[in-house]
Symmetry: C2
């Protein structure tokens, strides 16, 4: 299988390249019969236009770069899928580059992407803290998941405060009153924000955190286990635990199970992230908060398209997360 050029198609159809081009691109100034002939010729040669040449002339490569630092692809992949959806895979293809948290590698990738003349860039951070701006680039950039530190950039993030509120709200609606919050590294804004949202919602209800404070620690099952043991010790009457991540929630469930404390009848547990391998397979399956990242990806693509057409935005836009109910939470009684 070799590659036919437009000239081959034109020759076979007995027209000029110009006409062939117009025929295939649906330009009106070509007779229906001629167009038909050209289309047939193109099919016969299984012609597919050289996007490089197209890009050279239209000044649009039809590609975007997705620059990530998220080693596992846990966040980037859903964002990528959403973006692919929004762009339409035949219109735009995406270069996925993983900088692996290394600034030098990021610079490298950036250079490569720019020289590939990508039409735009989506930058996905590994964690939802602000990250350094890429600065002024010849193409539009959208920061997703992790916002840029430059307010002139456009950043799209998920609503961690709202997520915390939603989680606690759900527990309250389940009739829980003694709600504890075990979460990860306090150095992560995600941990702070989720905790803040949780406390806000509790306060509205005139409640306080069971255990008296937020249990900050690490983003690991082990911490979930350890914190839960301490919590049960200090506050055995707890009736709901909001875990700052699904990993932590797994640790929580583990210890509750070990202590023969039934979930959800005695203690309800809610996680965060909707990391399906953890949430779906747990015992019981985990109610959790989903970041709706495909949606974020779609929006990122739309914003990028708009920016390519000159409609540029800036600032941080926050998008709602959503509650996924499974069996680890239920109304009391």
């Amino acid at each position: 299988m070799s590659r036919a050029t437009l000239r081959d198609v034109a020759k076979l159809a007995g027209v000029s390249v110009a006409t062939a081009s117009k025929a295939l691109n649906g330009q009106p100034q070509v007779r229906a019969e001629t167009r038909e002939r050209v289309v047939r010729a193109a099919e016969q040669l299984s012609f597919s236009p050289n996007t490089l040449a197209q890009g050279l002339i239209t000044q649009r490569s039809g590609t975007v770069g997705l620059l990530t630092s998220d080693l596992e692809g846990r966040f980037s992949i859903p964002i990528l899928m959403g973006a692919e959806d929004a762009f339409g895979s035949d219109q735009t293809s995406v270069f996925l580059c993983d900088a692996r948290g290394d600034a030098i590698r990021e610079k490298h990738h950036l250079r490569a992407l720019l020289s590939r003349r990508v039409d735009g860039l989506i930058v996905v951070g590994a964690r939802p803290d602000t990250r350094p701006s890429l600065g002024d680039l010849p193409v539009p950039v959208v920061y997703a998941y992790a916002p840029s530190d430059d307010p002139a950039d456009l950043s799209l993030i998920t609503d961690n405060v709202g997520g915390g509120r939603t989680a606690v709200d759900h527990l309250i609606r389940c009739g829980r009153r003694r709600i504890a919050h075990i979460t990860g590294d306090p150095g992560y804004s995600a941990a702070q924000d989720r905790a803040r949202g949780a406390v806000e919602r509790l306060t509205e209800e005139g409640l306080e955190l069971a255990g008296g404070e937020v249990w900050f620690g690490m983003w690991s099952e082990a911490w979930g286990r350890g914190a839960t043991r301490m919590l049960l010790d200090r506050c055995p009457e707890v009736d709901a635990i909001f875990a700052g991540s699904d990993e932590i929630a797994r640790g929580v469930l583990d210890v509750l199970h070990e202590e023969r404390i039934d979930v959800p009848s005695r203690v309800a547990v809610i996680g965060f992230d909707n990391w399906s391998v953890l949430a779906v397979n747990s015992r019981p399956p985990l109610t959790t908060i989903d970041h709706n990242l495909e949606h974020l990806g779609r929006i990122a693509a739309q914003r990028l398209s708009a920016a390519m057409d000159g409609v540029t935005g800036s600032g941080v836009e926050t998008f709602p997360v959503r509650l996924i109910t499974r069996e680890s939470t239920a109304p009391l009684r």
Copy 2:
């Protein structure tokens, strides 16, 4: 920040575009002093060559497509990283396309990639069973993880039989004699192969499977739990369990823990896949088999490079997996 062209550089350096090109590409027929001037001009304008134009003329786009069906990116991401490493990120960028298991979407992506004039294609399956060949394409293709059904294609896969052998071998070296195997869907060649390797190694040792047979089921924690309960019922003297995946292993550990059966002192457990979120955080951390996928990705890139230079291969090549020992296995006593 705008984009300077080679012409701008040439003008600034007071030479022709031809010379500028040669100077920047390290061609020998240009005076050192001239080259110096051109390089400085290029830096001053922060010139970066238009890869589209380069590709148009050199007939090499410097891109490859990674076509996957692996929704979570669990297998594709490491392969992508390996490939990126081997290509060198400044030489070659990769388009990641997820077909989401849909043949039509795959065709779509394929068209798009070909019209982008990718220099080669890496096809990653969602599971290690043979998959339909893409047929004859104008660019070289390497199938990774899931082999093509056409022996004329080149496929690189990981050694599941060897993995099964390695797992059981490790358990035997730990002094275990009553070894059971709980694994996933028997419709997966991965399940069959791993089981075969396990049984082979047992037979060499004159042993038989504890429980009398392979416990096929599903790739889930729930099945791991269920099978373990049945196993303990039927064969309480088991001293090691080889789980066909880390998910299953988590279920196994869960039930053993529940039954107060110590791991590894009474029963050793080994998983498969080295899916780090599951394996590292389990209690105890899980000994498992790693597919070495970055390595597979590197090899895929190398084979692709070779094929682009005309050195094409075919058939199925199998690559060794490796044992990752953590704390869920240990010598008896």
